[in-house]
Subunit: 593 residues, 2 copies
Amino acid sequence: MPTYTAPTKDIQFVLHDVLNISSSDIPGYSDLESDFTGAILDEAGKISSEVLTPLNAVGDTEGCRLENGVVYTPTGFKEAFEKVREGGWPGLDMPEEYGGQNMPVVIGTAVGELFSAANQAFTMYQGLTHGAASAILAHGSDAQKATFLPKMVSCEWTGTMNLTEPHCGTDLGMMRTKAEPQDDGSYKITGQKIFISAGEHDLADNIIHLVLAKITGGPEGIKGVSLFIVPKFLVNEDGSLGARNGATVGKIEEKMGIHGNSTCVMNYDGATGYLIGEEHKGMRAMFTMMNEARLGVGMQGLAQAEAAYQNALAYAKDRLQGRDVTGAKNPDGPADPLIVHPDIRRSLMDQKSFVEGARAFMLWGAQMIDAAHRKGDADADGLVSLLTPVIKGFLSDQGYDMTVQAQQVYGGHGYIEEWGMSQFTRDARIAMIYEGANGIQALDLVGRKLAQDGGKHVMAFFDLVKTFIKDNQGQDEAYDRDFLEPLKKASKDLQQAGMYFMQNGMKNPNNALSGSYDFMHMFGHVCLGLMWAMMAKSARAALAEGNSDAAFYETKITTGRYYMVRQLPATALHLSRIESGADTVMALDAENF
Amino acid sequence: MPTYTAPTKDIQFVLHDVLNISSSDIPGYSDLESDFTGAILDEAGKISSEVLTPLNAVGDTEGCRLENGVVYTPTGFKEAFEKVREGGWPGLDMPEEYGGQNMPVVIGTAVGELFSAANQAFTMYQGLTHGAASAILAHGSDAQKATFLPKMVSCEWTGTMNLTEPHCGTDLGMMRTKAEPQDDGSYKITGQKIFISAGEHDLADNIIHLVLAKITGGPEGIKGVSLFIVPKFLVNEDGSLGARNGATVGKIEEKMGIHGNSTCVMNYDGATGYLIGEEHKGMRAMFTMMNEARLGVGMQGLAQAEAAYQNALAYAKDRLQGRDVTGAKNPDGPADPLIVHPDIRRSLMDQKSFVEGARAFMLWGAQMIDAAHRKGDADADGLVSLLTPVIKGFLSDQGYDMTVQAQQVYGGHGYIEEWGMSQFTRDARIAMIYEGANGIQALDLVGRKLAQDGGKHVMAFFDLVKTFIKDNQGQDEAYDRDFLEPLKKASKDLQQAGMYFMQNGMKNPNNALSGSYDFMHMFGHVCLGLMWAMMAKSARAALAEGNSDAAFYETKITTGRYYMVRQLPATALHLSRIESGADTVMALDAENF
């Protein structure tokens, strides 16, 4: 059975050595001293390892059960959810006025990784509630906030996101769910939604569905979509629960993974709903939720990769098989541990260098969100908006690949469910799909984000990389060679790809869109390259100061060197594909496939 | 529910346009006229689509069931196995003297793809029987052949391969299963074997286990391993079934996929076994089975990718979502089909160009086996031995990736089991693991096959590519530019990698082994690049002759161009990784991970 230990030391390194959060002028950051964040992470790590990890396989094996309209979550989920609630974890980065702890997003993200790594299916119940609460917080009326937020921030009530219908997922303009205005200002919601995570369950007294629907008589297509609050139980004026609303579960989907989360078909049958924000502006409110969810999904990719890596590493140290070709390392045993073999090393280094780079990327992104929200930093807001599809798409794709590699380290045992490695890949697979499949992320990046505000944000990114290189070069030959030169080269590739899109996308947008997926991955590599250059810089500084934990910092530099030499050069391949344009991609008529 | 149609036309193209099999001087090939192979493929396609495909989801959902020592296969498997038997399919390429049809391996391979694509878990029952029969054929005594082969060739009895034990898979020298010599010349086999595919089931009257074990008192390690025939029921002199042998199923493993195949823990408790070939030479006999199995596993990667691709393509044509950015293609409908979108195209072209290239590679390999076996062509034997780990490792890795891409085309529906796309990835995953995990294939390639016979076979491969380029260049500018130039470049990268291994592997073998996985993939790309150059040449010839099916041949050329420009350049990335050597891969001490 897999185990999980929170990578607290590594998170602390990113927060304090690399991002120096407690010296930042972002409001709330000055409290985030190392001891303080360490204590939070230790506590979150404890609940992750001791409470959530043991339930991961239980959730996978048992799944959720629908009986007479009631959904039962797997054994132990209810008690664990109660514990998470008691610890105040769901409201960690929510406003104090609604019962939250008002921590920055960077802390919510760091803790979120631990919970998600320990048990993704379980953590989604609170994750979706967080997203729904954020949408109400940003776009709801004062009365809606007062009614729903306190209970959602505590996870006494949970939340859901209802977008997809059987015939439309990405193309929400085709949606059929209707909202009929009522005299009292509410709406009657009618229609069917599918793939609703945590749609129905037994963990909370009420479920607050956020539902996209079209107000009858409104504009056609996506311009006629509005967002509604549809509670499972209506809420009386005094806050007590009233009548059961017409929002019912049709069935639970059988999925490849995340069995512990109830993915429901939801039927709305004249259910009472309350408009959030303005009529026909539902997509804007939905995107508040969606952008947060996309970052969370990128994090899931990283989290599953970390959990799988930890177990692959333990197995590689423990399993005796074959001999080191350069001489036995365990001469008294029947064989050497797997970790002596170069190809096992390669796989472990792929995983380690991804996970640590991705973690820094994630936390750097979270810091930008804090800068945007807490300091009104418009540049940070623009940059994180540009990077959101990269975080979602690149980290979930690569995270999945890493779980596959981790599974591979186990040989045949990796394919047997009992060992738990299969679950990591099956659970990680969904992150590439939900909250906008990764092809949509690539489209968002190339078709929308690149040109946003006149291309200002992507230019800012290139400037940031350039400035970093300029400020840090010429001090150490090895650092320049191992980190700054590869970063410069990769960033140049990325710029050249952007230039190709500008020059050829005008003529034919397919020239840009045929390379969008490659561009997303290329961008991800450059971001991780930048993270590794930053981390290596911090590690070098710590070593120069004579930090007693030299092995940790030296390992960091070696791991970074691996990434720069083995992964980052992928940018050249992506560039060559991008520069081949739409020609071979679009050449065939559909009937000739 | 997924469907499957045998890609008969494409197979015929490879067999006749590309490989020109019926003009070959390999004994038995002159019979293989296009009408004849077409009739076989039609028949095999029919049973694949109509009988095996509908049982694929049944096998996945029901799995196998163990009750009181009896294993029950999923509903319908028994009747389907009977049909396959009646059609004489299991003996297609087996000798006539044992009831087979004596067809060349190239036909067995072509048919094998269809069966495997339709239902991998089901087809393994006959596939393992084929492998076991081949080992008896090559290494058994005349009496053993006479006793076991007729029933195994017909699949009245099935076969298994027993290598792995709980503590050893790759490192078989550590094996603990014992063989105690008996006075009558037989042995008593005692030990436990795991991961035994088709280990116990209800499809056949008898199961012939081939079991590796150590004869007591023999040499230590791998040099003391022998191979035994251990029938489930002993066979009387008259061929009738005798006593139940001490070979029993301990449990059925719960796996990620191929649920329709019973993967058993097998307990041998003083079971009667008969030595195959010489004492302590078991590995040699096992490798007969293993090499055949490795080619079969490469084919599984291709087959699952083909089946998944067919369904992704159908979905992409059918599912309406979004609009073509260059103008609506389905203006009267609510949206355009997915296939108008460039990133969906990219994914479909990745899949199509892989599958068709892989099919040619597979059949070319099979032709070499026929040349080796039927004509005694030692060069063909050496080349296919070199390429076996490439076929196994590259095709199963890439085949898996393609099933993941196919699943992705379905968006959220790809994650729901009901749609069947998840099964393709879960089933395809095993091919990267069994019959030697792909890291072992890479080790075999770089550590053993490259230097075999003084590096003669890899030199022959480079000569073959060079000669092909030389013989075909200068006739058409577009062909030279689109096919021969990229092939030349990729082949040069591969040679340079080989050179790096020669120059640096002597100093430290880890310099070679750290790049082994990249080398295997690089080699696979060059092989597919060669296949595409060959296929494009044949397609051009057909077009020049005025063949009426111009669309087919033009599509072939376009698909090839896609591969050459989008996939083949990966060789440069692999080369750059290889040339970074063991440095960053091996730098960390195990405790610093």
